[in-house]
Amino acid sequence: MVEKRLIEAVREGLREELAADPDVFLIGQDIGINGGVFRVTEGLLEEFGPRRVIDSPLAESGMVGVAIGAAMNGLRPVVEIQFADFIFPAFNQLVSEAARMYYRTNGEFAVPLVIRAPYGGGVRGGLYHSQSVEAYFAHVPGLKVVVPSSPHDAKGLLKAAIRDDNPVLFFEHKLAYNTVRGEVPDGDYTVPIGEAVVRREGRQLSLISYGLSVHHCLEAAETLAAEGIDCEVVDLRTVSPLDTVTLLESVKKTGRACIVHEDNLTGGVGAEVAAIIAKDAFEYLDAPVQRVAAPDVPSFPYSPTLEDALLPGPSDIIRVARELAAY
């Protein structure tokens, strides 16, 4: 197996699914000749042509609405939202239509749809090119929400998402595209949606996370190990539906839990995970359930001095983990 960057893994997943299934097509802004503003779709227009790789007008709601219609008539659209921040104009199409089509038609019409979007801060993108939006969608029954942390999972989960008959939101951390590398099997394989994985075994406390933040947890765990604090790191991979079995197993083992995400604290995915732990692992808890997340500001501001003051990172995890371990 060769080491690849996360962006290459996503591209490989798209290319293989386009090649394998004529019903799959891509639609998004600047994804054609420009290859997407992050170059995820680079080369796909040349390879598959303008009927399979469609440059959309600047209209997210229409783009998603069109994709839903195409999905209801036999295709498997993969939509790229240029930045996760710009998914909100399509919120009604996603929540009121895609998410509940199957339920409202009593199982008649499925909507096999994937929405891909780069998320996350740390790139000096300011308030509208830095957000995490997974929590909004994790609250919506009928949607699945996936946030891969590794190139291996990015390719495998993307393929699973494209083959899934439900609308799946697929968030890729834009900072991870070129900084996160890992082994990616050639050819076809999938990673099942809804299964978390333990990235690092540990006995004293569980760091539960997803996406780029998983790497912050692993980094923190290294430092903490040197201090004799033995952390387990759980990578949720899918934030909806949650793999409660794996995360509860971990917390029942360690008795201490800290959920970590880049999204702002209040009402984030960490709230639901904490609530599940507080209910179903209550007996096993030796300390309060902690969360490390961005503070409750609208999004990360542009100026580096400001963004750096708000971005949650390994040092925040280490601080909280020490408190937890000492509790």
């Binding site: 209209a59 229409g62 219609g69 008539n73 104009p89 199957y102 409202r104 008649e108």
Partner: protein
């Protein structure tokens, strides 16, 4: 009107006598179902309805221009006439009105008059108006990409054309010259909001040229005019020349819904005057003038329609309600 006149109009519309009689029966059926449903809500036997009285000509004749077997309809809550033409049975409609388990539209999960029927090519609608418009462009895009020779027709009211999704859906269809017909039913009202407060330009069809395809405004009270215009649009779409926006001016003879009281914002005089424009007697007279109908055959027709509706009501009323144990099912496809 003199007989020959009616026959001429029928002939130039492209409908033959039998078609015209079918269209008339569908119009009668839609009206009967709409009226009966209203009464059922007054009796509390049905909890909600959205009458289509006044737009039977528009809905029936437009759908009649489609290939019922292969084309798609993306409906809205007043598309009852089009649903019948597309193949939904009176019994299925009534199962929907009563929200019963056997309702093919949603198994009782959605409100009455919320249509969707996969086998019949009726793309499910929810209540959030406007969302259907880009969806129709998407259905048409899939037809184009998959080489289906199908046309998609989406129905909506002029009020719903105020939503941004109208703009985005039409623009996309224009760019890709999709086989779709946008059928706007302009009855001048968005519930209690008159067209003057919705748009400074009362003709919705004028918007089409901004998207690079034709828009026409037609008399939605005359089925012949409607059929002719929509047939042209459907042929255009099927032949690959792209979308058309057809605006049918109609009337809303009844309140917006069974929850609405239109006398709060319309006068009785106004309503009485509008009733004079009822498309049903008008078409009836035309058919009589052409000899395709007479008092007697008309009465027979009406009786058969009433029996059909009554039978369907009896059936639906007696049908089983959705099983509460299924309420949490089918949130996700397997």
């Amino acid at each position: 009107m003199p007989a020959n006149d009616g026959s001429d109009r029928l002939h130039e519309s492209g409908l033959d006598g039998e078609d015209a009689q079918r269209v008339y029966r569908y119009m009668l059926l839609a009206r009967a179902i709409s009226e009966k449903s209203w009464l059922l809500t007054r009796q509390g036997r049905v909890l909600f309805t959205m009458p289509c009285d006044g737009q039977e000509a528009a809905d029936v004749a437009s759908a009649y221009a489609l290939d019922a077997d292969n084309d798609f309809i993306v409906p809205y809550a007043r598309s009852l006439g089009a649903m019948l033409v597309k193949g939904m049975t009176t019994q299925e409609v009534m199962l929907n009105m009563f929200g019963k388990a056997a309702d093919p539209n949603s198994g009782g999960r959605q409100m009455p008059m919320h249509w969707g029927h996969k086998r019949l090519g009726i793309i499910s609608m929810g209540s959030s108006v406007g969302t259907t418009i880009p969806r129709a462009s998407g259905v048409a895009l899939a037809s184009k990409l998959r080489g289906q020779n199908a046309v998609t027709m989406v129905y909506f009211g002029e009020g719903s054309a105020s939503e941004g999704d109208f703009h985005e859906g039409l623009a996309f269809a224009g760019v890709h010259r999709l086989p779709v017909v946008f059928f706007c039913n302009n009855n001048g009202w968005a519930t209690s909001v008159p067209i003057g407060l919705q748009s400074a330009e009362p003709q919705i069809s004028k918007r089409a040229q901004g998207y690079g395809f034709p828009g026409v405004t037609i008399d939605g009270l005359d089925p012949l005019t409607v059929y002719q215009a929509v047939k042209t649009a459907v042929d255009r779409a099927r032949s690959g020349d792209g979308p058309t926006l057809v605006e049918a001016t109609t009337i809303r003879m009844m309140p917006h819904s069974s929850s609405d009281d239109h006398l709060r914002y319309r006068t009785q005089e106004e309503l009485d005057a509008e009733r004079q424009l009822d498309p049903l007697p008008r078409f009836r007279d035309l058919l009589i003038s052409t000899g395709l109908l007479n008092e007697e055959s008309d009465q027979t027709l009406r009786d058969s329609v009433d029996q059909e509706v009554e039978a369907a009501i009896g059936y639906a009323d007696a049908a089983a309600p959705p099983d509460p144990a299924t309420a949490r099912d089918r949130v996700y496809a397997p």
